[in-house]
């Protein structure tokens, strides 16, 4: 089974037509890959479906707007993948 990063990178490459080999764990989805908020909805949708979770985008956005978090914490891909793993684990624990 491919890693969370591999799956997310494939989703981003296919959804946003970005060459797969330019997407790394240290890529910032917004600053480095140029993904805007609307395109990120498609990515969030694909991630929600693939991992059976619900990315808490509203909560993350609020935290960034309130200065309680940085975009790097959620949108650098290695961090995003860590959040996904946490959500998948939490879902498994509550099932």
């Amino acid at each position: 089974m491919s890693s969370t990063f591999d799956q997310v990178a494939t989703i981003i490459a296919e959804t946003c037509d970005i060459p797969r080999d330019t997407i790394t764990p240290d890529s910032h989805a917004i600053d480095d890959l140029g993904i805007d908020s609307l395109d990120f909805l498609d990515i969030a949708f694909a991630i929600d479906k693939q991992f059976g979770i619900k990315l808490p985008l509203e909560k993350w956005t609020q935290e960034v707007n309130d200065g309680k978090a940085t975009t790097e914490q959620y949108f650098v891909l290695k961090n995003l993948c860590a959040r996904i793993d946490e959500l998948v684990a939490a879902k498994g624990a509550s099932a």
Binding site: F45, K49, L55, P56, E58
Partner: protein, 156 residues
Amino acid sequence: MQLEYFHMIDRIVDLKVDEKTIVVEAQVPQESTIFEGHFPGYPLMPGVLLIESMAQASGWLQLGVFRFERMPILAAVKEAKVRGSVFPGELMSIEASLTHEGSGYAMTEAKIRVGGKLRANAALTFTLIPFPNADMRSHMDAIAKRVGFPQQAISS
């Protein structure tokens, strides 16, 4: 339907909050300034207004499912197909279903039928925002009353 005011939906026929589906009706008027230009001698509903009609049907569905806590705003149109023209005087039956509830966004699929025949369909994405002000909220409440929004469907 009041095309000039973008009032596309006339009546909510069936809203099933639990099943996340809706059916609405929209009566295309016989006459409108829009038909004077689109087109002289061959009036028909512009495709963008068919998409708007599907978006508004989807909007009422989401207002029901999310109990008027969020206002859905159209963000993306995918896979939109106009399979047949809709003409003045025709009654559109529009059905929509909620296909995904994300965090701050939602997706629907909608279809327009006339006389049971499919005329258009689309997959739509919406962002869900807090009502920006009291005026908009009261406006939506007034329209909800006009289209027969079933308050009992969200009161339980």
